[in-house]
């Protein structure tokens, strides 16, 4: 929103790494979107099945384990959505106190924030990896379908590491912005 109503120097385009990451994160986000559409279909079919069995007393019913599928699917999809959000600066932040500062100062604050996020996501991905291994070792499965939870964790883990890479890139991006005194890549959409 910010960029739309305050005139600023046009941001410099992405470098090759930025473009590559944008492609990968975009593709992963679309994968998450497909998963979300699958969740939508599973949940809707389950409702229709239940309604059908209610109306026609037929032998159709809701999809067994639909809740588990929705839960696991949703968690994996959300992990798939996080990297593009960080890359495109879509995460919500309060810009009111810093908006009149020069580009370099704002990039300085962003550098600190991105570094903080990098450390957090690194810890998260690392510990999620341990959690995933434990899920496989313990053969944890869902209650109804006996679906191995480890596989959903593993998918989430892959996207969590993509998030770590993306935050590392945004740290470098902020550093480069300080160096060149010019905004790089997409303008913020989450700034208030």
């Amino acid at each position: 929103m910010e960029a739309a109503h305050i005139a600023r120097a046009a941001p410099a385009p992405h470098g090759p790494i930025g473009r590559l990451l944008e492609g990968v994160c975009g593709a992963v986000a679309m994968l998450g979107g497909l998963l979300l559409i699958a969740i939508m279909l599973v949940s809707s079919l389950s409702v229709m099945g239940r309604a059908g069995s209610l109306l026609f007393a037929a032998r159709i019913s809701g999809i067994p384990g639909d809740v588990e599928l929705v839960q696991l699917g949703c968690a994996v999809a959300v992990f798939a959505f996080l990297p593009i959000c960080q890359l495109k600066r879509a995460n919500v932040l309060v810009g009111a106190f810093t908006k009149s500062l020069p580009v370099r100062a704002r990039a300085g604050f962003d550098l600190v924030a991105n570094l903080l996020f990098f450390v957090l996501t690194f810890a998260l991905a690392f510990q999620l990896g341990i959690g995933t291994r434990e899920k496989f070792v313990n053969h944890d499965t869902t209650m109804v379908l006996r679906f191995p939870e480890g596989w959903a964790y593993a998918a989430a883990l892959a996207f969590a590491w993509l998030l770590v890479i993306t935050t590392a890139y945004t740290v470098a991006r902020s550093a480069l912005e300080i160096h060149s005194n010019r905004a790089i890549g997409p303008s913020p959409s989450g700034e208030h």
């Binding site: 559409i37 599973v42 959300v78 959505f81 009111a96 810093t98 604050f109 996020f117 510990q127 208030h192």
Partner: protein, 442 residues
Amino acid sequence: MSNFGAGLVSFVILLLALGLRVPIGVAMMAVGVGGFIWIQGLAPLLSFLKTTPFETFAGYSFSVIPLFLLMGNVASGSGLSARLFRGANALLGHHKGGMAMAAVGACAAFGTICGSSLATAATMGQVALPQMRKYGYSGALSTGTLAAGGTLGILVPPSIPLVVYAILTEQNIAKLFLAAFIPAALAVIGFFIAIRGYIYFHPGEGPATEKLPLTERARLVAETWPVIAIFLIVFVGMNGDFFFGRSLFTPTEGAAVGALLASIAALTVGGMRWRQVLGSVRATAEQSGMIFLILLGAELYNAFLARTNMPQVVAQWVSGLPVSPYLVMAVIVLVYILLGCLMDSLSMILLTIPIFFPVVMGLEFGLSPEHTAIWFGILALIVVELGLIHPPVGLNVYVIQNIAGDVSMLETFKGVVPFLIAEFFRVSLIIAFPTLTLLLIR
């Protein structure tokens, strides 16, 4: 330092970090993690991180959020919004200021399939603004109307901030949605009065348009059927216990069915292209990612805050104050209005509810705990949404002014003033008469 002190200090650090451009989700995560280590050490935190983030994202009640976002995004990209405006305009357009009232009505109707305020403002803005300008509506009135009308997007259920409130406070989502209806209807009435009032003082800024023949009007109104059908199916199903004693589906299933029906409607009668479908999915991905990062941050921060007992101590202290509970409520409303100058509505809810909710629940309003929780949820939703239209940030105002292009910011804010006055009266009514909110709740 006591745990209570740590809680207070953490809140100050959190606010400081927010002021210095740390994204809200990241700031809450960082302060939560820091506080967690302070109180319990590193090992419990590390084991917390192994599964809790995944389990948070896998929360069944959270899955409502991306599905409702998908529904709203699909609806935004389709021709359904234009149908709503044409239908409402056929009913109201021939009155003075009628096209503005039609825009408000269309925003409310669009709000039944969209849970976001910005999306409602942007979508209806693109549809209604050019028409209003074409028929001689002033820049101030038309932009003010749409900025204010957009807030109906989160007020009329479904509503993403309300879902988050329900999850945070462990309330029933369907009941909260039901409770939002009368306050939303009051908003529409208030906005109508604001428009007529504006026309009274500035005649000629909102001319009546030609009255269409009855058959044509009936046809245009009838064309809004897909939205009405989707809304009825989703809400009758979700609030089944209100209509026939048992609910047909969970909020998540309601959102899934709604998203499916909206997609079908958009692709058939709405004339949506596959490219736009991809765009809707992409927007959903970004919005969900942004929301879930804040949710994860709140989960971590609240896990820490709960261990400090700070919210309970504050709540006890406030309930022991020798002042009217309504005064406390008024102060909370004021805090929300101030925060609304800086933040979006969802962040405000996530940041404040862990502290405000126990405070409010500790006060005596003569209501049952469940009714207090529902009433406060609706009230909080209304006041956080005010931040979208009042200066200095007013995101809706910026979005609409941007779409209009030829209306100055000052004029847009001037156009918003009558609506803010209407909202002031509505908030007062809702505080003074909790019955207004609780009438539909059993």
